[in-house]
Amino acid sequence: MTAGTTAPGRARINARTLRTDRWWVQPAVTVLVLVAFIIYATVRAFANGDYYAAPYISPFYSPCLAANCVPGSSEVHLLGSWWALSPALLILVFPLGFRLTCYYYRKAYYRGFWASPPACAVAEPHGKYTGERRFPLVLNNLHRYFFYIGLVFNVILTYDAVIAFRDADGNWGHMGMGTLVLLANAALLWLYSLSCHSCRHAMGGRLTHFSKHPVRYKAWTLVSRLNTRHMLFAWLSLFGVALADLYVALVASGALLDVKFF
């Protein structure tokens, strides 16, 4: 165990922290919510059912790439019939990777799950700390690749929201609560992706002379503005995805009837 705040020379104070506020609330809430999401997502990912209620497809299962996808849920089947597991498992690794390497979620799970640190000026329980310099945490530097892939997913889920304006028979001119749910989900995902730190860097953050790249500067400025709310979008889009899936599941299982506007 390496010496922390009790290292020789430092003021002799043994308390782990002298904070008097409820500093543990925030990491505790983070853990609770994320664990709840993980449980829900795992159950739903393995469920391999109730993910398509025409014309709505759950974001957990889109794009549905295996031959065992329920009819109507997708047109492209990259994988043959040998794939016997839930088709969600084929794709979820990408959004999962995007969120795992996200600069905001990193803070959330380092604090919440790893207590490194649990809160500011509260000693962490670990004897050694090497940060993100070694495997596996050094992989967090690949965030930008997940961001690019995430954009592809955003396009697909936006497409899903657009085709939700067709009715179950494929005729345009439909709109139900499910359409709204999928639209909201797609919008939140866009906000989450576009407010991403890697996006901000790609737009213009890597430049030294903004004045020579007026368009990229403009883009950087917009993304920077979104970026200040990245945490908010991270949570909203997480809830959005779960709720969209839940809605589709409830409709598909017949527990709920989709409200139809026109």
């Binding site: 290292a7 904070r19 008097t20 940060g131 730190h197």
Partner: protein, 248 residues
Amino acid sequence: MGYKARFRVWRGDDADGDLHDYTVEVNEGEVVLDVIHRLQATQAPDLAVRWNCKAGKCGSCSAEINGRPRLLCMTRMSTFTEAEIVTVTPMRTFPVIRDLVTDVSYNYQKAREVPAFRPPEDLAPGEYRMQQIDVQRSQEFRKCIECFLCQNTCHVVRDHEDNKTNFSGPRFLMRIAELDMHPLDTHDNRAQEAKEDHGLGFCNITKCCTEVCPEHIKITDNALIPLKERVADRSYDPLMRLFRKPKK
């Protein structure tokens, strides 16, 4: 208006020390530093505290109040209830000298290890031309008053003394970001140095530096993460390597 507040102040030196209880008068509108000064003038004339401007501009009176890294001069007594015990300790990441005064030489040492601004050789003084939008990012970082609260709160060194050798801390990683974004700096591989010489990889962006910054500089979002992205450009992104042009 005035009331008697209960204060608990850490007194001691590098060998030993303890929290001492005081009951001291507090008047309307005062900050914690005023109360510390009153203790000096009335009960503890040799209570050591470092301070200068008393207006949040010099960054001298850094300490921890109820466990939170703060400037003594910018913490108003009205943020506490009259019944609350106010605990004041020195910064816990640096060696203590006496009472509330710590040895912050770690920071000056790290400052020396960051290669200085390297001016362009082809421009004479007076010939520098820079656009406002090109300097404003670095200007944000130059608001830093060097109170070292970010260095103090950063768990990388706060909780791990042995990391001090290899980690320069948020203040000086931000300094590297400032120079890397400076439109006329000609030093070429600052991002790489941030990774290799200053331990940028230790940072796990848990944002405590940003939380404690009295100047409200967005250290993590505007300096550390962009620096990490610049490191990724060079070290972790094979595509960028293919496309990269030499700087400037």
